[in-house]
């Protein structure tokens, strides 16, 4: 298994926006996963892939994000959320 960081789009004109910075109820698109491949694979298996839509819906009592993805709820640690690079849908006018 390759241990290189997984990088999606090479062209990222946006400021570096992470899932952890997104307020509740704002849907975003995943751009890339800034994790080694073996740590990224469980995310990929659960549908967290570059190009997918993620929406933070709730905070756990410990302050970790719970997101909605593909109609299911996924809890992750804020450390993981900080490694998910995202972009806003509305700013790109491609939310449709």
């Amino acid at each position: 298994m390759q241990a290189l960081p997984v990088v999606g789009d090479a062209v990222t004109p946006e400021p570096d926006l992470r899932l952890g910075d997104i307020p509740l109820r704002q849907e975003v698109e995943l751009v890339s996963i800034d994790l080694p491949a073996d740590l990224a694979e469980p995310l990929l298996e659960r549908g967290v892939l570059p190009g997918c839509r993620i929406c933070p819906v709730r905070s756990s009592p410990g302050g970790d994000p719970i997101v909605s993805i593909d109609g299911s709820l996924l809890a992750l640690r804020r450390e993981t959320a900080a490694c998910l690079c995202v972009r806003l849908l509305s700013s790109l006018r491609d939310a449709g």
Binding site: G8, L35, A37, L39, E41, R46, L49, I66, A75, R77
Partner: protein, 643 residues
């Protein structure tokens, strides 16, 4: 297992097959973890299930018989749920091995029943694709189709079936509708050619030989899945309003943790108070039937072996059955209702601080009843180091086998006087202290492990939160039945053997008048041999014997001390035994003994299950050594402090 499957691989298997023309078909039930396939499995097989342990792998497998309409039987194997096929967890490895036909003694599957959650079709198809690549006959079961419709989603089955090239059946998890469709499919399954090892199969997340890096391979599969769901006109369901409402309470910043504590306390309360009448009932049954046996059989060595050895020995374990069943009833309800996933999320932050993760919460809680099922429950932990650390510290949880020992020694040595006001007595205080000791030991051991042997970069914790559901009483009942079978079988085997060995050791060497005095017997001599080692703790040879015999199971020491001191029908409430103990032990050494039992791994079943779960002796040996040292040092310290 193997004798039931004459159609093994190879020429011999083919010959047998041709001779009697009996083919046991094997169909594998596959699905993702979030979704409980067990309901469908239970509906298909009813009570005709058995738990089998595959050789080499450590996972208990569920195989059930399905009676087909034409009267034939078919084996259905319920594989552990998986997220994917990277084989990170033990469960994933087993599922992969069975599907690839690599498990010795188990026929490679003739067909696959793949069960998916229709409400999350897009996500679930990511799992479907690799299974379809195995090119085995496959039935795709769209479960929760009714819920999909309720929440405003749709899917065109016919288009989906055509696109994927498989048969499709809709079922409802709630009502069991659609199960007959699965049976109809099973009736048509044809055996794969006997003896022939079908195509070398490989199951993986990423197509074999793909030059793409893993993320691109996933993306490619994702694009394929997108086309499939579009072809099937899949409209995803809206969010479940019920789940949102419940989550806003159970995951509330303030109420969430409070309810979590409430649930944990409720589970404890049930284990320790509600189980008592049931345990008294079982105790009465064992004692009465033992007395009856003793009165019926002629006196002699056989009666002695049967009544004093086997009956009392097995009885001392069977008595824990109510506690274990109540615990599993609660865990079953918590899990099937969807709360367990939330509990894991709430527990994750604090677990993370000591180097564990949220999924460790379930095994650690189970550890308060018995470490063996708790260690098995840790299989769902996807990080191997987290799993090892969890099962390493699980035996520190105060399991119910420690309770008889605690109860006897506390009743004998701790005065029944108030400690803090009228409600917390000294006895309760000591009991709580022993529980606390276990937790402190577990937390610090985990902390040390994750900084030494199991050091790793922080891993991710991902937990899917299923929609809340009302648990099915039928599934719960079947699971309880199954748990009690496993427990009784284990208790039967191990305790039976130990009881016979112990009894034999008390009978030799023979003297002219019959069995020797206990001190002169083989058992007594063993006690004398280890006496010098335990003398610094204030224990004499009698306690030494108890420590040796309780290696089999902690509670055995109560019965052993009864035998040694010649107290008939010794249990933890025996006043006679308490009085004799007060003569032989000081308060300090009694507290030392309590501390020893809080720490030391006096449990063969745990060692055995650790060996299976870690595939070797290294971890159980280390665990045994560490816990023994802690027990010895703790007892020594207690003896010095309390005199």
């Amino acid at each position: 297992m193997s004798e039931k499957h004459p159609a093994g691989h190879g020429v011999a298997g083919a010959a047998v097959l041709a001779a009697d023309e009996v083919v046991w078909l094997l169909v594998a039930l596959v699905g993702s973890t979030i979704f409980r396939k067990t309901t469908l499995f239970n509906r298909l097989t009813g009570l005709r299930q058995k738990v089998a342990n595959y050789p080499g792998v450590t996972v208990e497998k569920y195989v059930g018989l399905v009676r087909l309409p034409d009267g034939r039987d078919l084996d259905l194997v319920d594989l552990p749920g998986v997220h994917g096929f990277s084989a990170r967890t033990l469960d994933e490895r087993v599922t992969k091995d069975v599907l690839e036909g690599r498990v010795e003694g188990l026929r490679s599957p003739d067909a696959i029943v793949l069960i998916v959650d229709a409400t999350r079709l897009e996500n679930q198809l990511m799992l479907v694709e690799p299974v379809l690549e195995l090119e085995l006959p496959t039935l795709l079961v769209l479960n929760m189709a009714d819920e999909l419709a309720e929440r405003g989603g749709t899917v065109d089955d016919a288009a989906l079936a055509e696109r994927l090239g498989v048969r499709i059946v809709r079922t409802s998890a709630r009502t069991g509708e659609g199960v007959d469709g699965v049976v109809r499919y099973l009736a048509e399954v044809q055996p794969h050619a006997p003896g022939e090892r079908p195509v070398e199969r490989h199951l993986s997340n990423v197509r074999k030989g793909t030059p793409l890096p893993v993320v691109d391979a996933f993306a490619a599969r994702r694009r394929l899945v997108k086309q499939v769901v579009e072809a099937a006109d899949f409209v995803p369901p809206g969010p479940s309003p019920m789940t949102e409402r419940l989550d806003s309470v159970f995951l509330h910043r303030f109420w969430g943790p409070l309810l979590f504590l409430g649930v944990v306390l409720l589970v404890f309360q049930s284990i320790f108070t509600w189980a008592v009448p049931l345990m008294d009932g079982i105790d009465w049954l064992i004692v009465t039937s033992g007395d009856w046996l003793a009165a019926t059989l002629p006196p002699g060595w056989f009666r002695s072996l049967l009544v004093d050895g086997v009956w009392a020995g097995v009885g001392s374990v069977v008595i824990f059955l109510p506690q274990i069943l109540i615990l599993f009833l609660f865990l079953g309800i918590l899990e099937d209702s969807g709360y367990m996933a939330r509990a894991a999320v709430i527990a994750d932050r604090s677990m993370y601080r000591v180097g564990l993760q949220g999924r460790a919460f379930l095994p650690l809680l189970s550890g308060y009843a018995c470490a063996v099922p708790a260690i098995l429950a840790a299989r769902t932990i996807d990080d191997e180091r987290d799993r090892l650390a969890t099962i390493f510290v699980t035996p520190f949880m105060t399991c119910s086998a420690r309770l008889p020992v605690y109860a006897l020694l506390i009743a004998a040595f701790i005065p029944d006087e108030p400690l803090l006001g009228p409600f917390v007595g000294q006895r309760a205080g000591v009991m709580l202290g022993l529980y606390g000791l276990g937790i402190v030991a577990a937390v610090s051991t985990a902390w040390v492990l994750k900084r030494t042997l199991l050091r790793a970069k922080p891993t991710s914790f991902l937990m899917e939160l299923p929609p809340y559901r009302i648990p099915s009483p039928r599934t719960l009942a079947l699971r309880l039945l199954d748990r009690s079978r496993i427990f009784l079988r284990r208790a039967g085997r191990i305790i039976f053997a130990v009881a016979i060995v112990l009894w034999t050791l008390t009978q030799f060497p023979r003297t002219e008048v019959g069995p020797p005095e206990i001190e002169e017997s083989a058992l007594g001599r063993i006690g004398h041999v280890i006496e010098p080692v335990i003398e610094p703790l204030g224990f004499d040879w009698r306690i030494g014997v108890g420590l040796v015999t309780s290696l089999a199971a902690r509670e055995v020491i109560v019965g052993t001390l009864g035998t040694i001191y010649g107290v008939e029908t010794a249990d933890e409430e025996s006043v006679a035994l308490q009085e004799i103990l007060r003569r032989d032990l000081t308060t300090g050494s009694a507290i030392g003994l309590l501390v020893f039992f809080a720490f030391a791994l006096q449990c063969m079943s745990t060692v055995a299950v650790m060996r299976r779960e870690t595939a070797g002796w290294k971890w159980p040996a280390l665990q045994f050594g560490v816990m023994l040292c802690l027990g010895y040092l703790g007892a020594f310290a207690a003896y010095r402090i309390f005199g």
